[in-house]
Symmetry: C2
Subunit: 336 residues, 2 copies
C-alpha cells in the first residue's frame, strides 16, 4: 500500500467527518451526547486492531511484540498530552472567540514542522520549510472572514494570554503527533500491537473523561454508560466508524509515512470540507477559499515534488531530498 | 548599479506615488486636473533623458543611436498599446465594480509571465512559474474584503463580458511591458536615446488625449494648456516628479533587468502602500494583508534565490537557473 493512497483516503474520511457530524444534528442540535463519540471510536479502533493482530499472529508466529513495561508505559503518553491539550483549548476559549481560535489553530502546521525537525531530527530543505509555512498561510487564508465581520476586530485585540495559550495549544498538538510517530517507529513491532496499546489507553482516558464530566455535573443526567447510545441514529454510528477509521489511517501514516504527510492530509481535508459545504449546505463560496486552495496545492507540490522537477538541474546529480519518506518506506515496509 | 537596488528604489517610489496622490487631495477631492499629471511626467522624463543623452554624447562620441525610420517607428507602439488599454479599462468598469476590477488587475502578473515566456523566449523553471502564480495570489489575498461587504457578492456575479475585458486588460498591460523590454534590449543603443524616443511619443499621445477630452467636453473648462497648472501645489509637483522618476527606473529595469523584476517591484510597492496607510491614514490592518505579505515574500525568495539554496543539491552541479537576468547583466552592462 502506498503512503499517498492512505493519505488521500485520510483526506476523504476527515472531510466526511465534518460533513457527517453536521448531518448527525437535528435542527442544529445534537440529540445524542457528542462526548461519547470519541470513546466509542477508541473502542472500535481497539476491536479492529485486536482482530488484525490476532490474524497476524496466526499467519506468522514471529509477529514482533515488545511487551515489557519499559515499552508499554510509553503508550499512555499521547493520551496524556491530548488530555492536557483539551484543557488548554478550553482555557484559550476563555480569552479568544472561536473564530480567532480557529485561525490560531493553523499554527500547529508550523509547530509540527519545528518539532518534527527538533525531536525526530528530520532534515527539511529550505523549500520544504517554505512549503510548510505556505500550507499554514493557505489554510488561514481560506478562513479569512473579512473586516465586515466582528472576527477581524477581535483577531488583533484578544488579551495576550489568549495568544500565548494558542501557541501552547499548537505546540501540544504537534507534540502529540511527533511523539506518536516516535512511538510507532522506535522499533519494528507489529503496527497492530502498537495500536492495541495506544487504543487501550485511549479508551481508558476517554472513559475517565466521561466519568469526570459526570462528577462535575453531579450525575444530573445519570452515569455516562446509561446514556451511551441515547439518541444514536445511523448517522451517529457512521460518525463513530468514520472517526475510528481516520484514527487507524493516522496510525498507519505515523509508522510508514510521517507527521508532515498527516498534516497535509488533514489540511486538504479542511479545504475539501469547505468546498463540499458550498454544494451540500449552500455555503457561499468566497474568493479567499479559492485562493487558499491554490496556495495549499502549490505548497503540496513544493513539498513533495522531486527537486529536479522544480528547478532545472541534471536529474542524475540530484541528492534525494524527501528522504525521510523513502527511508521509512523502504526500511519498514513489512506488512503493507 | 545593481538591478536589485533599482528595483528597491522603484518599490519605494511607486509606493510614495499612491501616498503622495492621496496627500495631494483636499478633502478627498483633486483641486487640479489629474489628467495633466501623466503628461507633465512624460515631459519631465523627456527632459531628464535629453540632458543625460547630451552629456553621454559629450563624454563619448561613439554613443550608439539608431536613427533610421525602421527603428524609430517602433517607439510609439507602447503608447498605442497603453491607449487601447486605457479604453479597455473604461469598458471593463461598465460591467464590474472597482473592487472586482482591482482583484482582476492581479491577473497581469500571470499574463506578464506568459508573454515573457512566449514573446521574449525566456525559460522559467517550474518553481519560478509557481512563484509568479503565488505573487498574484499573494497580492489578491491582501485585497480580499471579506463577505461582509458587497464586493464579495459582486465578484462572482459580474456579466461574462466584464471578466473577458478584465483578461484582455491584463493581456494588454503585459504586452506593453513585454514589448517595451523587447524594444530596450533589441540593440545596444544608448538607454537615453531609447528613452528620448519613447517619451517623445509618450508626451505626444498624452497631449492628444488631453485634447480629445477637451473636445468631448466641448471645451467647457477651456483648452487643457490654459488649466495646466491650475490648483497645482508643492505636493502636486512632487506627484509629477515621482511619477516621472518611477518611469525612468522602469525603463532602466527593462533594459538591464526584465519584466518579472518590474512586476515584483510594483507588487511589493502595493503591499508597502497598504502597510504605510495603516500608519499614515489610520487604515485598519487586516489579517489578509499580513498573509499577503508573507505569501509575496516567499514568492520573491522562490523566484530569485539560487536553486541550491532552496533544495539540497551540491552547489557545483547547479545549472544557473535565473539565467535571464545574469545574461542581461553581464552582456549589456555598459553604462551603469
Amino acid at each position: 500500500m502506498h503512503w499517498y493512497f492512505v493519505a488521500a483516503l485520510l483526506t476523504v474520511l476527515t472531510s466526511s467527518q465534518g460533513i457527517l457530524t453536521t448531518l448527525s444534528q437535528s435542527n442544529g442540535k445534537y440529540m445524542y451526547d457528542y462526548a461519547t463519540v470519541p470513546f466509542l471510536a477508541e473502542v472500535f479502533k481497539l476491536l479492529v486492531s485486536s482482530i488484525l493482530l490476532w490474524k497476524e499472529c496466526q499467519a506468522s508466529p514471529s509477529t514482533r511484540m515488545t511487551t515489557d513495561w519499559k515499552s508499554v508505559r510509553l503508550y499512555p503518553i499521547p493520551s496524556v498530552i491530548y488530555l492536557i491539550h483539551n484543557n488548554v483549548q478550553f482555557a484559550t476559549l476563555v480569552y479568544v472567540d472561536t473564530s480567532t481560535y480557529q485561525i490560531m489553530g493553523n499554527l500547529k502546521i508550523v509547530t509540527t514542522g519545528i518539532l518534527f525537525r527538533l525531536f525526530l531530527k528530520r532534515k527539511l530543505s529550505n523549500l520544504q520549510w517554505m512549503a510548510i509555512l505556505l500550507l499554514a498561510v493557505g489554510t488561514t487564508t481560506s478562513q479569512v472572514k473579512g473586516c465586515g465581520e466582528a472576527s477581524c476586530d477581535s483577531l488583533f485585540s484578544a488579551p495576550i494570554q489568549g495568544y500565548m495559550l494558542g501557541v501552547l495549544s499548537a505546540c501540544l498538538s504537534a507534540l502529540a503527533g511527533v511523539y506518536t510517530e516516535f512511538l510507532m517507529k522506535k522499533n519494528n513491532d507489529s503496527l497492530y500491537w502498537q495500536n492495541v496499546q495506544l487504543y487501550t489507553f485511549g479508551a481508558i482516558f476517554n472513559m475517565a473523561r466521561l466519568l469526570l464530566d459526570d462528577f462535575r455535573g453531579g450525575f444530573e443526567n445519570g452515569p455516562w454508560w446509561q446514556r451511551l447510545f441515547n439518541g444514536y441514529t445511523i448517522t451517529t454510528w457512521l460518525v463513530v466508524l468514520n472517526l475510528g477509521s481516520t484514527g487507524l489511517l493516522v496510525s498507519w501514516l505515523m509508522k510508514y509515512a510521517d507527521n508532515i504527510v498527516k498534516v497535509y492530509s488533514t489540511s486538504m481535508a479542511m479545504l475539501l470540507t469547505m468546498l463540499l459545504s458550498v454544494y451540500l449546505f449552500n455555503f457561499k463560496p468566497t474568493l479567499q477559499l479559492f485562493l487558499g486552495i491554490i496556495i495549499c496545492m502549490m505548497s503540496l507540490h513544493m513539498y513533495f515534488a522531486p527537486p529536479n522537477m522544480l528547478v532545472d538541474i541534471p536529474a542524475a546529480t540530484v541528492k534525494a531530498a524527501p528522504e525521510s519518506l523513502k527511508e521509512v518506506l523502504v526500511e519498514r515496509r513489512t506488512d503493507s
